[in-house]
Structures are given as structure tokens and as C-alpha cells.
Amino acid sequence: MNVKKAALCAGIVLATALIPLFVTNNLAMQYIINMLIFAYFATAWNIIGGYAGQLALGNGVYVGIGAYVSTILFAYEGITPWIGMLAGGVIAALLALIIGSITFRLSGSYFALATVAMLHIIRLTFLSNNYMFGYHTKGALGISLPWRGNSIINMQFEEKAGYFYIILALLVAAGAFSYRIKTSKMGYYLQAINTNPEAASSLGVNVMGMKLKASMISAFMTAVGGSFYVQFLNVLDPSRILGYDMSVQILLFAIIGGKGTLWGPIIASLIMTPLQDVLRGIVGASISGLAQAIYGLVLMLFIYFLPAGLWPAIIKLYNKIVAKIRARAPANAGE
């Protein structure tokens, strides 16, 4: 990454970090945190779904694993969610290894369907069992997190700003990590697998191993986000966290933003999440169903007009403008 780009990124992060100083409205903060959470989830999905091009439809599984592991440890064992988060990530990565070893033998739509099946199996398991691994997970009721006081250790805050800074840090870390993968040997290999796995293996790429690695990284990141999400919501509702909507949202944002791009999933989440929240809050209260209809319409417009995604379209536009400026002042042309 060149210095200019790095400085620009640092500037964006710093400017974002100032938001809580100006936004004091609780609901507004909630919307902003929601935006960042989904940007984070979409970034994590992008590694398996975008770079490696595997249409994983059930990434919500890992949100759920992260949420359950950290919540069980926090509520019943009194272990800080920071450790619970890592434990959830590791368990999710192991689960991804097991699921991947089975599902990556399938290709195309069969793989996609298998991931959906996996999601339903795990959701139904949690919904229909009151006890899981000896802990009282309360089936469909879910678990309410006990309030243990405003502190970083407990990952519980009276002010929304606390959650905001944690998710911002997580998103920055995820973005940096995603960038590192994209510009490394692994990134090239994943993109090769994405378009032509057979040719990739003839060049020495271990296709199965790479897919598993990408899937495990994606699962780890997603589960860490899931732990945070449930701390933020204060309640673990399995039908929401392990719901099909959750999984679809994650990948929808990555796709309309631009699969395989670093910024696409982030940008799309920043637009679509607040749109959804605001619509639900404003229109949803007056006419039921209208919010979803508008949201669906916006999605359709995105997919119809920008099939490659929002971010590639922005880059194209930017390049066009730069080319125009250069054409006007050829003397100043440079890198």
C-alpha cells in the first residue's frame, strides 16, 4: 500500500473515531454501531465468498457459535467475553474445518445448498434443546446476559460509545487483515481458485487446503463479531442470530458492494444497514410491509444497475474523472 492510500485510510479511521463526540443520540449511535457490525461481518464473509468465490450461504452459523460460546462462558462461568470471543473464534474455525471438509467436495450450487442445510441443522439444534453441552441455553427463549457493570473487561457499557470503539477496532483489524490476504500469495491463490480451480491446481495450488484455510479465517472472524454482537444486544435470540436472514444479509452486503473487493462490503453495509433501520423505524410503524418493500426495491436497483457491485462502479467513475483531468492538463500528468 502506498503512503498516500495508507494516510487516507488512517484519516478515515480517525474521523470515524470522533463520531461519538458529536452524536449523542442513543438511537443514532445504535444505527451507527449496527452499520459497523454488518460491515465487519461482510468483510469476514468476503474472504471465503468474495476472494475464494465460494457461495457460502450459511455464515450466520459462525455468528451463532461466537455468540453462544462467549455468552455461556460469561453467564455461567463468569469468564470475560474477551476470552469467550477467542474461544468462540477457535471453535468456529474448527467447525468450519469439519463443515468444509464435507461441503467443499461439492461444487457450485450444491455447495451453496449444503451450507444452508448446515445452518438449519445447527439452528434447529439450538432452538429445540434446553441444554447444550451441559449448559442451560434455554432453547428458543435464548439467553439474557447478566449485567456485571460498566467495564471493558465485561464488555458492557452504559454509554454506546464503548461498543462503538470496540466494533470500530474490530472492523479496522478485519479490513487490514483482509487487505493483507488480498495482496499476499494466499490472495492470488484464492482468486485463481475462484475462476479456475483446475488450472490453479496444475500450477501447484492446493485447492482444498486453500478453501479450508479461507473458510476457517472467515469463520473465526465472524464468530468474534458474533460474540461482540450479543454483548451489544445484551440478549442472545437464536431465531435472530442463527436465522436465515442474518446469513443472507451478510452476503448480500458483500455482493452488492462488490465481491472480492476490500471496500465494497464495507461501503454497502454502511448504506444498506441504516437504510433498513431507518425504514423500519419510520415507515414500518405506519404501514406494515412497506419498509421491506422499499428495501427490496433498493436492492433490486443495485443488482440491476450495478451487477459487478458498488465499489467497482465507484472505481470506474473515479478513473474516468482522473482520465478527464489528465487529458485536460497533459503537462502535469504523473503517477
Binding site: S184, K185, Y189, Q191, N194, T195, A199, S202, G204, V205
Partner: protein, 246 residues
């Protein structure tokens, strides 16, 4: 030909797809430093033989030995790492990546750092004469360029043995002559080559030794002269092909 060391030994290999025998009891010896030609009508089993050497699928029977290692059961990526590179008859580009990036995917095998792989890929593209197209994505290349890009990609893995599957298909005679030239250059750089080609002039000029397949069976082998005068070969392949005279 020059009495080089045995590099690849295909030993009585048979491949059956269901009831169809695509390759039937074929043995091929390839010595270090040679160019070996593989000819035969469409459906003779040439590409099937390539796919078995490259590890796409294992033979039903028989052994394939590369530098004293039995490779017939190894997967593609392991065979590539042992030093066998290939191009495809039906091109398989990474269409969303540029020519340079396509080549880098091959180069990363020996140069895991991006900068090193980029340099290696640039060198190869120079060698192949594709550097002016390095920033074009695979999806917008024509067939002759795609074939060359595949060659660059395979060369970037620094193979000891290179399997070329119809790299000249779709080229005009002057481009074809260029390809012959750089295949010779590749040979001079120490790479052993097995080549499948329908352009007879090319195969006769390049090959040290030719194997002729017909309906899955080996019907002749020897120097280009021996093979082109073999009555069996003329009857079953050369005689009935119009483009032989090219």
C-alpha cells in the same frame, strides 16, 4: 536422442471411462532435454494421456514414473510441485486476473513473496513476448494470446517437464513460426517438453522423437523421419489429413 537421462516413464498405462478405453496399454519414455511429439487423430487419447501425467485423474492400470517417483496417484498440485507444468487444449485462464497476475499465480510456487513473483512473471512475459499485454485481464484476450499466457503461467512454475497441448492452434503461419522459435528457446533453457500438435510442420521440426496414437493405442514411435514413413501411420493418420502438407 542425445542419450539423456530418463526423466519420465509412462509404463503400460490404460485409462477406461466406463466402458470406453481412451488410452490402451501405452508406454512412453522421455529423456532429459528432449522434445517428444505426441500425434494422432482427434480422440486418439493424447489429451487423456496428458491428464494422467499431470494428475487430473489416475490411470486405470499402469505406472507413471517421474525422476524415480511414482506419480500416477498424486494430485495435480503435488505433480506441479515436482516439476511438471502444462497448458490446456481448451484454455483455462483466470479470467478476472491480468496477464501478469495470471503468470504470478504460477511464479508464486517458487517465489512466495509478491515482489519476487512479480519479477519472475515479468521476465517470463518478456521471454514469451507478452509483456506489452501484461495489464490486460484474461477475459479480454484472444485465443492465441490466451495460449501464450498459459505457456507463460506454466513456465513461471519453473518446470522440468512441460506438457504443451496444442499451443499453436488458431495461430497464423507467421505467429506459428514464432512459437516454434520460443519452444526451441525453452528447450535450450533446459526444459524437457512433450508436445501435442496438429501442425505437422511444427512437430516434425521440433521433435526429437514422436509417438503416434490411434484409438488409444500406440501404433508407432521413432524419429520424425521414421514415423512419417511408417505405412501404419500414413494409413491411419497422416495420409488422410489434408493439412499434413503444411
Amino acid at each position: 536422442m542425445e542419450g539423456g537421462k530418463l526423466l519420465l516413464q509412462v509404463d503400460a498405462v490404460t485409462k477406461q471411462f466406463g466402458g470406453l478405453t481412451a488410452v490402451n496399454d501405452v508406454s512412453v519414455d522421455v529423456n532429459q532435454g528432449e522434445i517428444v511429439g505426441l500425434i494422432g487423430a482427434n480422440g486418439a487419447g493424447k489429451t487423456t494421456l496428458f491428464n494422467m501425467i499431470a494428475g487430473v485423474f489416475p490411470p486405470t492400470e499402469g505406472k507413471i514414473v517421474f525422476q524415480d517417483t511414482e506419480i500416477q496417484k498424486l494430485p495435480c498440485q503435488k505433480i506441479s510441485r515436482l516439476g511438471i507444468g502444462r497448458t490446456y487444449q481448451i484454455v483455462k485462464p483466470f479470467s478476472n486476473l491480468t496477464v501478469l497476475e495470471n503468470t504470478m499465480v504460477g511464479a508464486l510456487q517458487h517465489y512466495p513473496k509478491i515482489a519476487g513473483a512479480r519479477q519472475k512473471a515479468l521476465d517470463i512475459l518478456d521471454f514469451i513476448g507478452l509483456s506489452h499485454r501484461k495489464d490486460v485481464v484474461g477475459a479480454s484476450l484472444g485465443l492465441p494470446e490466451l495460449k501464450r499466457m498459459e505457456l507463460a503461467r506454466a513456465l513461471a512454475t519453473e518446470p522440468k517437464l512441460l506438457l504443451l497441448d496444442e499451443v499453436m492452434a488458431g495461430l497464423n503461419p507467421s505467429d506459428g513460426a514464432k512459437v516454434i522459435e520460443y519452444i526451441q528457446k525453452i528447450k535450450e533453457s533446459g526444459v524437457t517438453i512433450i508436445i501435442i500438435e496438429h501442425v505437422m510442420k511444427a512437430i516434425m521440426t521440433l521433435s526429437d522423437k514422436i509417438y503416434v496414437l490411434n484409438q488409444g493405442r500406440l501404433i508407432a514411435q521413432g524419429s520424425p523421419d521414421e514415423v512419417s514413413n511408417d505405412p501404419e501411420v500414413i494409413k491411419s493418420y497422416l495420409g488422410e489429413k489434408r493439412y499434413v502438407k503444411n
